[in-house]
């Protein structure tokens, strides 16, 4: 179980490094698709089928398709590579921050077995305690889509 989780996590990490070094935009977007699918499989293995489905629907089905649509509409293919000097400094800082956080978490007691919740318990909480936040997020998506439409259309 733990090995499968580690396998998908390492796939998503290696793919994120590929995005940094790649120059072709379409390949990068398809790599992002692979990362989202790996994270959704992690959700499924950790016992949350709802987040698995919503990750695939929203990220892989919505965001990636929208990005591919925009890229093909405006017709961009390649971009510049990264600056070497900036890259070395940024990677060093990245690993420094990562090792600091890992050092803090080293002594934290993690449980051997994780706690799973039933789906109806989650939805009960979502539609009772968090009802206003949930509705406001729906409103936010509608306002975002209307605003995008108004800003893009021809006058």
């Amino acid at each position: 179980m733990n090995e499968i989780l580690l396998f998908f996590m390492i796939i998503s990490l290696l793919t994120s490094y590929y995005i940094i070094f790649s120059k072709k935009i379409i390949y990068s977007v398809l790599s992002l698709f692979l990362i989202f699918i790996s994270i959704s499989i992690l959700y499924l293995l950790l016992g949350s089928p709802f987040l698995f489905i919503s990750q695939i629907l929203i990220y892989a089905g919505g965001i990636i398709v929208l990005m591919l649509f925009a890229i093909y509409t405006v017709g961009i293919k390649e971009t510049e590579g990264i600056n070497l000097k900036e890259g070395i400094v940024a990677f060093l800082l990245n690993f420094l921050i990562f090792f600091l956080i890992a050092n803090i978490l080293k002594n934290y007691p993690f449980p051997k077995k994780i706690i799973s919740f039933k789906m109806d318990f989650i939805f009960d909480k979502l539609l009772k305690d968090y009802l206003i936040a949930f509705e406001i997020v729906g409103l936010l998506i509608v306002i975002g889509i209307i605003g995008t439409f108004l800003s893009v259309r021809e006058k």
Partner: protein, 97 residues
């Protein structure tokens, strides 16, 4: 379980790295999406470790926010391509004039 938690922090930092290193607009959007996705995975994992369902609900809410964000970002991208004909962010320094 601890190694998954720590590696998802590295995934978040890689999203920040994409935002910092890449010079093009669409890569910055991709970095934001990667960071938000790994952040919601971290919230979910924390809620499973602590036994509190609030983190999972925050993850659902972050999904909606990132979907709205990418819609607005791609609208900005199409407008910038209409105006300038490029998407490299070095060209947008005189946008405020």
């Amino acid at each position: 379980m601890k190694i998954i938690y720590i590696l998802s922090i590295l995934l978040f930092l890689n999203g920040i790295l994409i935002i910092l290193l890449k010079r093009s607009f669409i890569y910055i959007l991709m970095g934001i999406e990667l960071s938000l996705s790994s952040l919601s995975f971290l919230l979910f994992l924390t809620s499973r470790i602590l036994g509190n369902p609030d983190g999972e609900i925050y993850a659902i809410i972050i999904f909606g926010i990132s979907a709205a964000g990418v819609a607005i970002g791609l609208g900005i991208l199409i407008n910038l391509m209409k105006k300038k004909g490029t998407q490299e962010i070095e060209e947008f320094k005189d946008l405020g004039k």
